[in-house]
């Protein structure tokens, strides 16, 4: 691993100052929050910002009240927050990111804006140099990856696009919960449904321009909703997801589905919102309905050979995971849902 290349460093105190710096520096600048992903990336030279804007001193980004979560809240503070316990999918997702050490530093905003990952990209400089770099490449002195016109996508060599994978745990969970995000730039502030923040491209994976700062996440009222998050990884800690399922349903007192959202993570360049979940509305969560949705979702889950594990296995598990997550929401005994469900419930007692 190399040292990070030289950069200048700003430590503003207000959101307004951050916005001004971003406007002035343009794509040269990157925001530094927890740094748990960015700093290693800088040492591998997959991200090479000329300017770092630290958010450490911006107190406005660290609130948590009334369903509004400041983007600089750490993942451990979210996983442990009693205020967020109605939003179970978020708590479970945050609690399963990496390791306790990383969760103590990593932030929600950072996890939402996490760079997409690929076995051909998340390698050190020399490794990538040896394959003549792929399509996704760090721009010289720019924080955001750019398209390398000479590079091919090693995952799908004939492909005109980059297939790097969205690996955020909290994004699928928050989309399932119907969250919106607030973005601020010198032009003003706007709110956006979280799903609209993402773009199905491994390089330009965010729709927001580089001069915008994600300041907070706004959660809708969770009354009547149940949600969960299932993460597949090889070990019980540390790893990025190779598949995740975030599901939320709003049930009437008789068990009829009033609303439902299903999101798959780590199977595409963006969190995959499964529209077919709406077909559950108006019916009870029967075994048949669950199986139909699971089969539909598995069709959309098209993992490529760019993370761990063999493809056939991941595809098979995708279907089983959707089934398991929905059965859990229906109220089936979590102890009957297999090993990972038990792990997820064992993470911390949930009220």
């Amino acid at each position: 691993m190399m040292r990070a290349s030289p950069f200048s460093y700003f430590a503003p105190i207000t959101i307004g100052e951050v916005a001004k710096i971003l406007a002035g520096e343009g794509p040269r600048a990157l925001l530094l929050a927890g740094g748990t992903d960015l700093i290693p990336n800088m040492k591998r030279r997959t991200q090479t910002p000329a300017v770092l804007v630290s958010l450490r001193r911006v107190a406005e980004l660290r609130g948590l009240a009334n369903g509004r979560i400041g983007s600089a809240m750490t993942l451990s503070s979210i996983a442990e927050s009693p205020h967020l316990s109605p939003h179970r999918a978020l708590i479970r997702a945050a609690a399963q990111v990496a390791t306790p050490h990383i969760r103590n530093a990593a932030t929600l905003g950072g996890n939402l804006c996490l760079d997409t990952r690929c076995n051909y990209y998340n390698q050190n400089y020399e490794w990538r140099q040896a394959i003549d770099f792929c399509m996704k490449r760090a721009s010289d002195g720019g924080g955001h990856p750019v398209r390398n016109e000479d590079g091919v996508c090693w995952v799908a060599p004939g492909s005109p696009r980059c297939w790097a994978v969205s690996s955020s745990d909290t994004a699928p969970a928050l989309i399932a919960l119907g969250a919106t995000v607030t973005l601020v730039s010198i032009a003003g502030r706007r709110e956006l449904p979280l799903n609209d923040l993402y773009c199905d491209d491994g390089i330009a994976y965010l729709t927001k321009p580089s001069d915008e700062l994600l300041t907070e996440v706004v959660l809708p009222d969770a009354t009547g909703w149940r949600s969960t998050y299932w993460k597949l990884r090889r070990r019980e800690a540390f790893d990025f997801p190779v598949l995740s399922v975030a599901a939320a349903v709003k049930l009437a007192s008789d068990g009829t589905v009033l609303d439902a959202r299903l999101v798959l993570g780590a199977v595409a360049s963006h969190p995959l919102l499964i529209a077919e979940a709406q077909e559950l509305v108006g019916m009870p969560l029967s075994d048949d309905a669950i199986e139909r949705l699971a089969a539909a979702a598995a069709r959309f889950a098209k993992p490529l050979d760019n993370t761990d594990f063999a493809l056939g296995w991941r595809k098979r598990v995708a279907r089983a995971y959707v089934t398991g997550a929905l059965r859990e929401l229906r109220g089936d005994d979590p102890a009957t849902l297999g090993l990972l469900a038990r792990r997820a419930t064992a993470l911390r007692p949930l009220s």
């Binding site: 998340n122 490794w127 063999a310 089983a320």
Partner: protein
């Protein structure tokens, strides 16, 4: 006051936890520059040219290829066979083979320069795995009785093939050295992270054509080895030394994790085939075993790995008629090498899976089958060694069964598939056969007015060498543990105690130190208290600053070995072990998890019980990783998952509850009865886990790692 058997404070523990300990990358020398290795990008081929871009500014760079080796020196890594060059001359035999070395004061500029060097090859067909390998680097046969006669007595013949994958040692600290050239231009000092300073010294002497007074090697605080720093540091030290000699400046070379993973040695992948003649009641009458190891592109230590693998291939079981054929095959992949267990984990994985297969075919309980055939005192091994004294195969099994059952939990109805598996194993302590006699290791004690200082070439690599040696000497001299200190392993200061490998540091080197202590005691004359020891020491020293007592390995009289026939006493003593593993398999994800692992091991005597248990827990976990998680994915002869996000080892949450129980059945020629402990714990867990998966799922896996993909495939095929 006795400290043997007590958990005294680790000798070097405070330095490590306070951060005072200096690892190689913490050290710096005036004028030091940084070295880097240019490696082959083809698995096999001829080197046509090595071209430097003339447009690039090469000022300030030092470049070295094989021609820089001084007259009198040789381009050969000193090991068993003279086949491996430090730097390729005109051919490469594996990916990542070193071709060129480059150094600069600014390490950041090295990658830039490497991009301006082009090596052209004429690629040649490469053999990339054991399945396709045909070139035999080493073969041996161990024979006992008459195999034909054995099979004639059998009621049934059971066959099976078993496969194990490569494994990375994954010490926390990657390989690294600093070479400092002498002002006279005719000497060199190398500091580094290593297990065997005298191996490095020997390699440097051959490379540079220097004598032992001209080459000094100093071990710095070392963050783990597991065999991965047995032979490899010789190559790295040679590279740094060549650059240092060329530049006339100190050169630091520290691998990053990628380079360490793709270029350095791994555990030998293995294919073990069994054909066993067995009687209806479970008595083994004939064992025909083939052990094939993937040695990679050069011979390195493979012949001795093969020797240990083959000797342990029968497992701890008696059979009147045995033939073990061992082979090391060559592939065009980076050479495999030493890794904790040294071939024995691979071959005992084979026999332990095979024993369960035999039990199943005969309809006998796997534990009963083992009990019927386990070695007992008086039995004779495949090499003709009569086992007497300190044979605990039955005892460790009985105690493991007691220990494991005692903690049995009620069955849960949660859809998970559960199973329990067993494995029994043994592990010879010290070098194989005549190895210890050839080594003729020396170690000793320096008496100073203040204390007693150990002069020993054995290295502390996290396993507790310093603490354990000091305990042995303190109790032998009947003085406080705190009075014993240890000199840093430095070839200019300490004698060659042989390598820190092969579970020999306690049993063999500890015994030599004990004998040195007895020599000192004799010189002092009788004393009753530590204070009297001190008074007598000062008198003996008189005006001398120090007095040294060096002892040499003394073969216990009754050991004999014939290298030509592979017959005799393969090891002075064996550690005996039993693992019982509980496994859960998730039928949705096909992931297997080891939830509880019992390890009962006879190590003769635990000098430091806490460290011994730590060795057993760590070794067991390393085997859990090998069994379930660790997969070296090779693509075109190169490790494709060369980073820790993809090559994964178990985290704390993946660690089973490990129940360790020590058995102390003393070996009369070990210090206080001690045998080896370091490697034995790796021999059993993988087989116990796979036997448990078999019980849980009904599918038989013959290969590790047992990844969910493999389990799914096997369950689908039912």
């Amino acid at each position: 006051m006795k400290c043997v058997g007590k958990n005294v404070l680790r000798a070097e523990g405070e330095d490590k936890v306070t951060g005072r300990a200096k690892y190689i990358d913490d050290l710096s020398f005036p004028g030091m520059i940084y070295g880097h290795t240019v490696r082959s990008s083809v698995a096999r081929g001829r080197i046509l040219s090595v071209a430097r871009d003339p447009a690039f500014d090469w000022g300030g760079f030092t470049l070295v290829d094989h021609r820089a080796i001084p007259p009198g020196g040789r381009n050969i890594v000193a090991m068993i066979v003279e086949d491996q060059p430090f730097l390729a001359v005109d051919e490469v035999r594996h990916r990542e083979e070193p071709i060129l070395l480059i150094a600069h004061a600014d390490p950041e500029r090295l990658a830039e320069a490497v991009a301006h060097i082009e090596v052209h090859y004429a690629p040649e067909p490469a053999v990339l795995d054991l399945e396709h390998a045909t070139t035999v680097l080493k073969e041996l046969t161990i024979s006992k009785g008459d195999l034909e006669q054995g099979f004639a007595q059998a009621d049934r013949v059971v066959e099976g093939s078993y496969f194990t994958g490569a494994q990375e040692q994954l010490y926390i600290e990657p390989n690294g050295v600093i070479a400092v050239p002498g002002v006279d231009g005719k000497s060199i000092t190398v500091y580094g992270s290593m297990q065997c300073p005298y191996y490095v010294q020997r390699a440097l002497r051959l490379l540079l054509g220097l004598d032992e007074t001209q080459v000094r090697v100093v071990q710095t605080t070392t963050g783990g080895g597991f065999g991965g720093k047995e032979e490899y540091p010789s190559i790295l030290a040679g590279h740094a030394a060549l650059l240092a000699c060329a530049a006339g400046r100190p050169v630091k070379m520290v691998y990053d994790r990628l380079e360490d993973l793709v270029a350095t040695t791994k555990r030998h992948p293995a294919r073990i085939r069994h054909r066993t003649g067995v009687q209806r009641d479970g008595t083994l009458v004939a064992m025909e075993i083939e052990v094939d190891l993937d040695g990679g592109a050069y011979v390195t230590l493979s012949p001795v790995v093969l020797s240990r693998a083959s000797i342990h291939a029968t497992g701890p079981y008696r059979a009147p008629h045995v033939r073990v054929r061992g082979r090391v095959l060559q592939t065009n992949t980076p050479p495999t090498g030493a890794f904790r267990g040294f071939g024995a984990p691979q071959s005992q994985f084979g026999i332990e899976l095979h024993m369960d297969r035999i039990a199943e075919e005969l309809g006998i309980d796997p534990v009963a089958l083992r009990q019927k055939n386990l070695y007992a005192s008086g039995d004779v091994t495949a090499t003709g060694q009569r086992l007497d004294g300190s044979v605990s195969a039955h005892e460790v099994l009985e105690r493991a069964l007691q220990r494991h059952v005692k903690k049995k939990r009620p069955k849960k109805k949660d859809g998970l598939l559960r199973g329990t598996g067993v494995a029994t194993f043994f592990h010879g302590s010290g070098f194989t056969g005549g190895g210890e006699v050839k080594l003729a290791s020396r170690a000793g004690i320096e008496l100073t007015p203040r204390n007693v200082r150990l002069l020993v070439g054995s290295t502390e690599i996290g396993q507790g060498t310093r603490t354990m040696h000091a305990q042995i000497v303190a109790d032998t001299l009947a003085i406080p543990y705190e009075w014993v200190e240890t000199a840093d392993p430095d070839t200019a200061r300490v004698p060659d105690s042989g390598p820190t490998v092969a579970s020999r540091t306690c049993m063999v080197v500890g015994r030599i130190l004990q004998r040195a202590a007895l020599d000192l005691q004799q010189a002092l004359g009788p004393y009753r208290t530590p204070d009297e020891f001190r008074r007598r020491s000062r008198k003996l020293l008189a005006k001398r600053p120090a007095l040294q007592f060096i002892a040499q390995y003394d073969r216990p009289g009754d050991i004999r070995w014939d290298d030509a026939t592979y017959q005799g006493d393969a090891y002075g003593a064996y550690a005996w072990g039993c693992n019982i593993a509980d496994v859960e398999v998730d039928p949705i994800t096909y992931q297997a998890r080891c939830t509880r692992l019992t390890a009962v091991i006879d190590i003769g005597k635990a000098i430091h019980p806490l460290l011994a248990c730590g060795q057993i827990e760590g070794g067991s976990l390393q085997a859990v990783g090998w069994a379930l998680y660790e997969e070296v994915v090779m693509r075109d002869g190169r490790m494709a998952n060369g980073q820790l996000t993809n090559y994964i080892i178990p985290t704390t949450l993946d660690t089973p509850e490990i129940l360790v129980e020590l058995v102390e059945n003393p070996y009369p020629h070990g210090p206080f009865g001690a045998k080896g402990v370091g490697e034995c714990p790796v021999d059993g867990p993988a087989a116990a886990i796979l036997n448990a998966i078999r019980q849980a799922t009904g599918v038989r896996l013959n290969a590790i790692p047992a990844t969910p993909e493999k389990i799914m495939q096997a369950m689908d095929a039912r």
